[in-house]
């Protein structure tokens, strides 16, 4: 036990930046010699998710090879580089103003992500899905966590965004424009979804709590069923013909953007009003919070980002049909939000990333996957009732002046 504790404190002493640099080196090494090492070890191609899927599929025989691979490609380089970089890495960012250092971090993370996953078909898929899920989770957290309402229809807005964005890239813009027109299509999808968000926002003036949950449920069904009944866009057969425009850089950009924007929103006066509505709507109103305007803003922002995620999703999978955006998808997003933590940007990030990763890693287990995931969710909620990071944030996401009003996120 003591040994483990020593190791933990030893590893925790190394700054995050040093680990990032380590991962950067490790990804570069993998790009250069990964194939060679994998074939030497008798693995079929480089293990795409650290070999966890491989071991599940082909049995424990591959375990030694996978461990050797992970040790030489990831663990050792990361540890060595992190150890070497630990003394001087913090000096890199200490002198910079906070904004610049944030930008530096984001760029570094992007570099790591792109090097690790940008050149590998399957990892591109997983990482893009991760980005999409992060957008979905953080936007749903705005309503479910910060505003304290219970929306179970997030997938509906995602569907609106997906359909509008795909229709625009397929029918409106010429295909040759490709990536140039993509952000416009996504924004249009988001705007459409935001308008659909009004379907929930307006009833929310009068209806609260569990009854509002039904409204969101109904809106999800109405959207899904509505799309099914429009023959022009394929009805229940679905819609296709999109070009594969979503890739790691786009997913990363939009995920970062939504994390940043929603973080700023909840820290802004308008965002504080959202939290005030959660705590006590009547008190908030007496304190001059315009509850109607605030609710519209929160619901529409939330569904706007869901629409963006939908657009990205459509251009990743290249085929959408109404049943993709059913309650099952909404439930998935709910799981991500509550796994990660209520009212926490960091929580949505962790929840969505963990969930996507688990879903991919456990894929060989087929139906058992969905037995394990709910068990895990319940186990986590029993220990931490608000999710892993509920009501807490990573320190870099909150302004210094407010650090003490959040719980520490170190443990």
């Amino acid at each position: 036990m003591l040994q483990i504790q020593k190791l933990r404190s030893h590893l925790a002493a190394i700054p995050a930046l040093a680990y990032l640099l380590g991962f950067l080196v490790a990804s570069t090494i993998e790009l250069l010699v990964g194939d060679l090492l994998a074939s030497l070890l008798g693995l079929r191609g480089i293990p795409s998710l650290f070999g966890i899927t491989l071991v599940q599929q082909y049995g424990l025989i591959l375990l030694p090879a996978v461990i050797v691979y992970d040790l030489t490609i990831y663990v050792l380089p990361i540890y060595i580089v992190a150890r070497l970089a630990a003394p001087w890495a913090p000096k890199l960012t200490n002198k910079m103003p906070k904004r610049l250092s944030m930008l530096f971090y984001v760029l570094l993370v992007f570099l790591v992500v792109q090097l690790w996953g940008g050149f590998h078909e399957y990892r591109i898929l997983v990482l893009s899905l991760m980005g999409i899920n992060i957008i979905l989770a953080v936007s749903l957290n705005l309503v479910n966590g910060y505003m304290g309402e219970f929306s179970v229809g997030h997938a509906g807005f995602m569907g609106v965004g997906a359909y509008i964005a795909s229709i625009i890239t397929v029918w409106v813009f010429p295909r040759s424009l490709g990536h140039l027109a993509f952000p416009l299509a996504l924004l249009a999808g988001g705007a459409g979804a935001a308008v659909a968000g009004l379907l929930v926002a307006i009833p929310s003036f009068k209806i609260r709590g569990d009854y509002l949950a039904i409204i969101t449920l109904a809106v999800n069904y109405i959207i899904k069923n509505g799309i099914e009944n429009i023959e022009r866009i394929g009805g229940s057969r679905g819609f296709m013909g999109m070009a594969k425009l979503t890739n790691v850089p786009w997913a990363f950009l939009w995920a970062t953007l939504s994390l940043w924007l929603i973080r700023n929103f909840v820290l802004s006066p308008r965002g504080r009003a959202v939290v005030a509505i959660r705590e006590d709507e009547i008190a908030a109103e007496t304190m001059t919070v315009n509850t109607r305007y605030t609710k519209i803003l929160a619901f529409c922002t939330s569904s706007f980002f869901a629409g963006i995620a939908g657009g990205l999703f459509a251009h990743l999978i290249l085929y959408i049909n109404p049943s993709t955006f059913s309650l099952l998808k909404s439930t998935e997003v709910l799981v991500m939000v509550y796994l990660g933590g209520m009212a926490s940007i960091s929580g949505s990030l962790i929840g969505a990333a963990t969930f996507t990763f688990l879903l991919e890693v456990l894929r060989p287990l087929e139906e058992w996957k969905w037995v394990l995931i709910p068990m895990l969710l319940v186990a986590i909620l029993l220990r931490r009732h608000a999710g892993l990071m509920g009501f807490r944030e990573f320190s870099f996401l909150i302004p210094k002046e407010e650090a003490e009003s959040y719980g520490s996120a170190s443990d």
Binding site: A218, I222, L377
Partner: protein, 302 residues
């Protein structure tokens, strides 16, 4: 007129099943103020258990003479007991420790629903099992309207169960405790009533009704599969809300209303619009009466 009466009977049949399940949502909500999202899947478990029990009893009946009524009662009893045990286990493991945190418990309920679906999927596989009929089906024709034994049975059994429930809640001590707990949760423990016992009892009653609903549903639409609880569960939930969640009579009424709306919409509009129409009706009801028909708006103290 004949056509109308025919649809009326269909609507009552569908509505009574919705009402049975809606009661479960409503009772749990009344006692705990929490939506048991796993209830739809409890219904599915009830249907599956009834399926297995019926299969076993029918095979037994081919060797030993057992009256058909006993087979029916036996499968219903087995399904009720099994479903109750599972529901009590879920309540104990996943809901009770989190009772203070209303939102978390809703999520564990959703999780438990997914868990039940997929455990069922692992056990019975993704096939659609056809439910064995436990009664010989006659179609009676009264003044041009045809009504089958099964329809009569469904309507009779569900109305009987609702009457028993009504008696239980209104006339017995336990029922009084249930009503008291939903009236004032803080005072009840002071009166020497064990909240945990009443909660367990509520879950037991709710899952018995769901199990009966599962058996009857299996007779009306003779297919059982692991995902059958999702749609029926949500629909019953809607019924509970339309009637005013937390209110027992509201849940019964809501179930019948939804049955009528669905059958009515199916008769007038193309069938693929059916769900759309029912959800639109639901939204309109809530816009006019934000707490459902029988729901009482709790006054917020300032």
């Amino acid at each position: 007129m004949v056509y109308f009466l025919q649809q009326f009977i269909n609507a009552v049949q569908l509505g009574s099943i919705y009402a049975l399940i809606a009661l479960g949502y409503s009772m749990v909500y009344g006692v705990l103020r929490f939506i048991n999202f796993a209830h739809g899947d409890i219904f599915m478990v009830g249907a599956l258990l009834a399926y297995f029990a019926a299969g076993f009893l029918i095979r037994l009946a081919s060797q030993v003479p057992i009256p058909a009524a006993l087979v029916f009662m036996g499968s219903m009893l087995f399904s009720m007991v099994g479903t109750t045990l599972i529901a009590l286990l879920i309540e104990k493991v996943a809901y009770r420790p989190l009772r203070q945190h209303r939102l978390s418990v809703v999520i564990t309920a959703l999780g438990m629903g997914v868990l039940l679906e997929h455990v069922a999927l692992v056990i019975v596989g993704p096939w659609r099992l056809s439910f064995p009929l436990l009664v010989t089906d006659h179609v009676y024709r009264v003044a041009g309207v045809s009504i089958s034994t099964i329809q009569l049975l469904i309507i009779f059994v569900s109305i009987l169960l609702m009457l028993i429930l009504e008696f239980f809640v209104q006339k017995t001590k336990q029922g009084m405790a249930m009503r008291a707990i939903s009236y004032d949760r803080e005072t009840l423990p002071l009166m020497g009533v064990s909240v945990n016992q009443i909660v367990s009892l509520t879950f037991a009653v709710a899952s018995c009704l769901a199990a009966a609903g599962g058996l009857l549903y299996g007779h009306a639409y003779p297919i059982v599969e692991p995902y059958m609880g999702i749609m029926v569960g949500w629909k019953s939930f809607i019924s509970a809300v339309v009637g005013g969640i937390g209110s027992i009579r509201g849940a019964m009424l809501g179930g019948f209303i939804l049955g009528f709306v669905e059958i009515g919409a199916g008769a007038v509009f193309p069938s693929r619009m059916r769900d759309l129409i029912s959800f639109v009706v639901l939204m309109s009801v809530l816009l006019v009466r934000p707490t459902g028909i029988f729901g009482v708006a709790r006054r917020q103290k300032v």
